[in-house]
């Protein structure tokens, strides 16, 4: 078979991405049609920058999801073919030993890497890793930051001084050093990441409990069942999450344990949350300090509301604008951090298709072969750029009122 020309490669990739295009067009068309009723999200479609950002982000989200559903990926991201090593984009698929599966996709659209794996499929699979970890890790960092930042700002005094000192302590740590110290097999063996996870994953439960209790404590008939249900579900998830079969923490019997997270992924997740939390803490604290001087906070105090009600229901909802903007930026930053970890081969397994690891492998032969390193690099660039543009658009639109 003849290798494909560049035009053919582009056409084939666009074709493979058909589900993504359908998803994108549907989302954007629906959003624009109802934009007047969608609040801040709807207003995003008034800003060209925000729309471009949103489009880029959603492109990768759809690519990741449909990729994971096996609608896009052409080859298994881990399977190697010795005859495809470093072959340029558009090379017909072949195998050194034996014949290729007749159903297999006949080309490596973006070429093969130094082990003869399909670069295109690895990029698509890498997106799924990022889309799973980055938003979730950022969300946890926000939970931690909010649960600690609000009381620090609201009570002030020694609590604030102490928590701020802790936050500054972590911020003064060079991130890369922290990763090198924390994300090693030796540390995983000691179980420290599991303990850290056990501490950090408590925050969402605390958050939800306090949130609901402060709101409904005047109506015990509603409060008690709701709280019980929420604590049960979250508690079970929490225990399944931290408990590992034959690991450092074995809390649940295995028949109750819903899922296990590989130690490598867990340590990556924990360290990313750990690095992000202090910054979120500082942002939340700053905004809350400002909002707590408002009269509606004083009004809540004069009618005898509890401190947590004021923090979670009077202050937090009014801080949502800047927090949403920061969330987008921070997902981008987390993506970069994940890439950094991959780049240094920390945490994630070496054959993992995540973008950082792929770039790291591709860079070694960069002066001769560009195609293994460039696609993941550009993918990461465009996702983070999209998130930044989205944040910019959101900020601009929320300021416009």
């Amino acid at each position: 078979m003849e290798p494909l020309s560049w035009g053919e490669i582009v056409l084939r990739i666009l074709g493979l991405l058909t589900p993504v295009w359908i998803g994108l067009v549907a989302t954007i068309a629906l959003s624009i049609a109802f934009k007047r009723r969608l609040g801040l999200y709807g207003k995003l479609f008034d800003s060209p920058i925000g729309m471009v950002g949103f489009g880029l982000v959603m492109f990768w989200v759809f690519t990741a999801i449909f990729g994971a559903m096996d609608l896009i990926v052409t080859h298994d991201a881990l399977s190697q073919s010795a005859s495809m090593k470093n072959e340029p984009p558009g090379t017909p698929y072949s195998k050194l030993i034996g014949d290729p599966d007749p159903d297999a996709y006949p080309f490596y659209l973006l070429g093969g890497d130094n082990l003869g794996r399909d670069v295109f499929s690895r990029v698509v699979d890498g997106a799924w890793i990022v889309i799973q970890i980055a938003p979730l890790a950022t969300l946890f960092a926000f939970m931690v930051g909010i649960t600690l930042g609000l009381p620090a700002a609201y009570y002030g005094g020694r609590l604030d001084t102490f928590l701020s000192f802790l936050a500054n302590l972590i911020l003064a740590f060079p991130v890369i050093l922290l990763f090198y110290l924390l994300v090693t097999p030796e540390i995983v063996a000691t179980g420290i990441p599991s303990y850290m996870a056990a501490v950090m994953f408590v925050f969402p439960i605390l958050f939800a409990t306090v949130l609901l209790n402060s709101r409904y404590h005047t109506r015990p008939s509603v409060r008690t069942p709701v709280l019980a249900a929420v604590i049960a579900v979250l508690g079970w998830l929490y225990l399944s999450l931290i408990s590992e079969r034959a690991g450092a923490l074995e809390v649940l019997p295995s028949w109750l344990d819903l899922f296990d997270i590989p130690g490598g992924i867990l340590v990556v997740f924990v360290s990313v949350v750990f690095v992000n939390s202090p910054t979120v803490f500082r942002i939340v604290r700053g905004i809350a300090m400002d909002i707590k001087t408002r009269d509606y906070v004083a009004a809540a105090q004069t009618r005898g509301e509890g401190a947590w009600y004021i923090m979670l229901w009077e202050i937090l909802p009014n801080a949502r604008g800047p927090l949403i903007v920061d969330f987008c930026l921070r997902v981008g930053y987390t993506t970069i951090l994940l890439g950094t970890l991959g780049f240094f081969g920390l945490g994630l397994p070496p054959e993992s298709p995540d973008w950082g690891s792929t770039i790291n492998e591709g860079r070694k032969l960069l002066s001769i072969y560009l195609h293994p390193a460039l696609p993941p690099a550009l993918a990461l660039l465009s996702l983070v750029l999209g998130l930044n543009l989205l944040a910019d658009g959101l900020r601009e639109e929320s300021l416009r009122d």
Partner: protein, 348 residues
């Protein structure tokens, strides 16, 4: 002002102690020690052998004691190995054990020896730090003025075409971490595949003799990422200042636009980005590590990777102390200069 600096220094020392303790704790975890014993002694040591090896060398003392010894506030460890050799923290080859000083920690200037490079830690760190200093100097020279210029130009007329163009550029660079921009820059300017070959893809030769050809790409790679961030800060700050009432006052006083920007807006607008530049240091260190690895420039960041990768505990500790120290000192400077720049801050 004096008490302010004193207080800041006190907080800084406290922070440094906490951080070094954390590093010390993490590097002295048992799995790390076990690995150390096996690399230093014998790969096929049994568990008991590892125990004795560690015990005779004082590695199994309680953590605070070991930390005190390393710091130099407790007397150094002395022990005798199973084959009767005296070993100890303060011993040096070629000097009798009796002549060894009692204290030999960081405070005494004794940073220990690298187990990989077989050299005193301080020598390695100072040499590598010098190389990185050279890199950082050029990064700053390139990054700070261009970032500020970019930000001020974009922010002084918010929403204009210049603003849109410059802002998009700034956002793009902040979305490009060093390992992405480095790869792209090497691919475009240094690879034989594209064929431009304007620059060199490695900076190893720049350690002795830095030239534009071998040094520009690493400098640019670090500078680009930080530049976008500072430029965006400056732009936001500038744009905000330009909407302030005192700028309108100046305009209605009849001050011309260039003078408004230079005399009235600039100082107020630079207060915020200045702190950002200083607080960038822990961040820039990231870039340094990535770029030094990417371009094979054997500086401080490269040493960090080597030390961490080879479980070189003493070296890793040294590197950590230095980087924490650099970060804290820049924070201190940034605090002090902030007070100087912003006359509204009262120092009590």
């Amino acid at each position: 002002m004096g008490t302010f600096i004193l207080r800041r220094v006190w907080v800084m020392i406290l922070t440094a102690l906490c951080l070094t303790f954390i590093v010390f704790f993490l590097t002295n975890l048992y799995p790390n020690l076990e690995k150390l014993a096996k690399t230093q002694g014998n790969v096929r040591m049994s568990d008991e052998q590892v125990q004795t090896w560690l015990e005779t060398r004082g590695y199994l003392q309680p953590l605070p004691v070991k930390y005190g010894q390393w710091l130099g506030v407790l007397p150094g460890w002395q022990g005798v190995t199973t084959d009767g050799r005296a070993v100890g923290q303060c011993l040096e080859p070629g000097r009798p054990p009796e002549a060894a000083p009692r204290f030999c920690g960081v405070l005494q200037g004794d940073w220990g020896n690298s187990s990989v490079f077989k050299e005193p830690v301080w020598d390695i760190v100072s040499k590598r730090l010098g190389l990185t200093g050279k890199l950082m100097f050029w990064v700053m020279v390139l990054m700070v003025p261009s970032a500020l210029l970019l930000g001020v130009l974009a922010g002084m007329r918010e929403g204009s075409r210049t603003d849109r163009t410059l802002s998009t550029f700034a956002i793009t660079t902040t979305a490009t971490p060093e390992y992405v921009s480095g790869v792209i820059l090497i691919a475009v300017f240094a690879s034989s595949a594209v064929g431009l070959k304007w620059f060199k893809g490695t900076a190893t030769s720049a350690m002795e003799d830095a030239t534009f050809e071998n040094f520009f790409l690493p400098v640019l790679t670090i500078a680009l990422y930080g530049m976008g961030y500072i430029a965006r800060m400056t732009r936001a700050s500038m744009a905000e200042v330009m909407t302030q009432q005192y700028i309108r006052t100046a305009r209605l006083k009849g001050v011309s636009f260039p003078n408004i920007v230079l005399k009235h807006a600039l100082r107020n607008a630079l207060i915020a980005p200045f702190t950002v530049i200083m607080l960038q240091f822990p961040w820039l260190l990231n870039g340094v590590v990535i770029v030094e690895t990417l371009f094979n420039y054997k500086g401080f960041g490269w040493t960090l990777v080597q030390a961490a990768g080879n479980n070189d505990i003493e070296l890793l500790l040294g590197v950590s102390v230095v980087s924490v120290f650099v970060v804290l000192v820049t924070q201190l400077i940034s605090d002090i200069v902030y007070v100087y720049l912003n006359p509204r801050i009262k120092v009590a």
